[in-house]
Amino acid sequence: MELTGAQSLIKSLEQQGVEVMFGLPGGATLPVYDPIIDSSIRHVLVRHEQGAGHAAEGYAQVTGRPGVALVTSGPGATNVVTPLANAYMDSTPLVVVTGQVSRAAIGTDAFQEVDITGITAGVTKHNWLVTDASDIPRVVAEAFHIATTGRPGPVLVDFPKDVANQRTTWSDPGPVDLPGYSPPVDPDPQAIAAAADLLVRAERPVLYVGGGVVKASASAALAALVEVTGAPVVTTLMARGAFPDSHPLCLGMPGMHGNYTAVTAMQRADVLVALGSRFDDRVTGKVDAFAPGAKVVHVDVDRAEIGKVRRPDVAVVADCRAAIEALVAAIASRSGDDAADPSRLAPWVAQLDEWRARFPLVYDADAPSGASGAGRSAVKPQFVIEQLRAATPADTILVSGVGQHQMWASQHWTFDQPRTWVNSGGLGTMGFAVPAAIGAKVGRPDRTVWAVDGDGCFQMTAQELVTASAEQIPVKIAILNNAYLGMVRQWQHMFYEERYSEVYLSPDLPDYVLWAESMGCVGLRVHSPEEVLPAIEKANEIDDRPVVVDFRTDSMEQVYPMVPSGASNDDIVVHPSQQGELR
């Protein structure tokens, strides 16, 4: 059957099982947009290409399926670079198709031409410039294969306009033939045996769980590993929900704003088992002082992560789920002196419990005295998160932007299921929340989707709420409006002698309620603690349009605990009310 290159592209996407894509048309993608009218694929028309990319990320993070975005050449393509970089950092499977000028015009500085394969080489797993329409079925199959296998990540297909118009035929490309690409799957039995040895004999083990566990859908395997070993778990920012916070052996989030027990457990561990985590600087603090007494087992599907930061004693290069299942089997099959005995860990667990009792996550719940001062409010941001958690269904998907609100969300929400937490971890992309929430709701329309956003973040991508209204995607946005770029303010407060430089925004410029309403959303505003729960309940009842709640929160709040940048995790700064406990 003869068809155009554009039709071949859309057909190839349909063959890959794509049900939705996020995009915005332009000159170079005109031929591609025509067959979309007749396609089974839903197209969500965003208002800015960055929104298309982040929405595709949100979709991918909650479904585990690749997110797809379609944008035009030139500025359309450069606008999607930030989402690509974000997805690359957070290992999110993404397939982005960019329009390109016609082949004959490439390299001539044609209108809306940009070398997007060159620009994105460092932020994609791979990219392609399609130079002949007959290559389309093969390239699309390769693109989805690479995006979703091994360590997942973003790929980009650059699609010249004349290739879209070329007459071609479509045939099933068959299995992909990529001689240079064969991600590891099964773990080396010897490495598993060595890891099992270390773990079984450990006196102070910690399972250091990262986003790879979520990507590999390994939560059940992880639960079995905890069951058989009795080892406690820390879940990194990317892994919140991979292991339930409600489990007695879940210590919560480690790292720069991790809780005291999670941070200190790693520091004191004798065996640290890294599962799909990458020793990020926000987790390790000063690397030389990180977990100094620990033997390290590092499980990762990406060989390049092994020894990048910390040289492991045992390396397992494999799919995380396969590796954890093999580890469970290896440990369960032992008997006698070699068998795992969770009761041996009782002193360690008692120590952890003691830390948890002394250093719980706390905040100053009391209203600041004279709550009328500049930026003061009786509404504490952490209180909003707690109320939100209490008043929403257990399987609610929580999305966040980047900054103080993100840390409070990660700390104070209780995550009990994987893929219920969507945030920008590695790149730290402000403005991620609104479009990512839209993508998450498209991927899981059955779930309640709340985004916790900062006022600074919200202003970066709020226009996508127009998309949400127009496409009837009822997301809910809680703005923790403290009138500041709060995390930068916190650093200026702590490390720059309270010399605040260019961090003040404004609580009411813009007027978030009016803005929300002008975008077709319901806008609500909360000034006092008593209004918090009623506003959340009102928002929960609205299911026919997006809701934005402008929570006026206390701008003086700091995120605690905190490990200052470059410091050892031993020098963790706990909440002022707990600082006496450290002595």
């Binding site: 460092g122 690479i146 240079g180 690409y181 990048k308």
Partner: protein
């Protein structure tokens, strides 16, 4: 460490020398030779080079050509870096979809070869000396001008260094080296 290739004057290049106090060629042992079997596709070289550039590693020499299998090319790269960061680069090179195989060769475990073209001043007085020296090395004169000769020399990088040094007093006018290519030394039974 001593300077290796320093541009002097108008784009001329002085030959590589060992560091002062080191035996000749010792500087070379700091070099790492990485050879990659890659798919013969557009854009592969820039992806490979990009991983070095990102870290500020200078590529000392580079040779790319097809192999016996037309689907693949072989890239030989010489870099002067510490081992630890290089290991990280090699791991990341391995992640490139178009890179099929990577071998890191220590100079002592490799058969290396390079090709040199060199134009040297050779007037009526010096011409016969230059030709004689070329013959001693096994180099061939491939072009003859009024007061200069162009010589072609294929050998190990160390011999090429020597040859350059021997030619230098006569006045090197132009010089082009291909960059080294390398294959692992074969195992021989005793």
């Amino acid at each position: 460490m001593s300077a290796r290739r320093e541009p002097v004057g108008t784009g001329r290049v002085v030959p590589m020398r060992a560091a002062a106090g080191e035996p000749h060629g010792a500087a070379r042992l700091r070099h790492h030779v990485v050879t990659l079997l890659v798919e013969n596709k557009a854009g592969v070289l820039v992806r490979v080079a990009g991983l070095f550039a990102r870290r500020g590693f200078n590529i000392f020499s580079l040779a790319v050509a097809p192999t016996h299998d037309p689907r693949f090319s072989r890239i030989s790269i010489v870099v002067d870096v510490e081992s630890a960061p290089l290991e990280q680069v090699v791991d990341q090179l391995d992640k490139l979809v178009n890179v099929v195989e990577i071998t890191e060769l220590h100079p002592l475990e490799a058969r290396e070869a390079e090709l040199l073209l060199l134009t040297v001043s050779a007037d009526a007085v010096s011409r016969s000396q230059v030709i004689q020296l070329a013959e001693v090395f096994g180099a061939r004169v491939v072009d003859v001008g009024t007061d200069a000769l162009t010589v072609r020399f294929a050998s190990s990088p160390e011999e090429i260094d020597d040859f350059e040094e021997v030619m230098r007093p006569y006045g090197i006018r132009e010089l082009q080296r291909t960059g080294r290519i390398a294959l692992p030394k074969l195992v021989r039974e005793d």
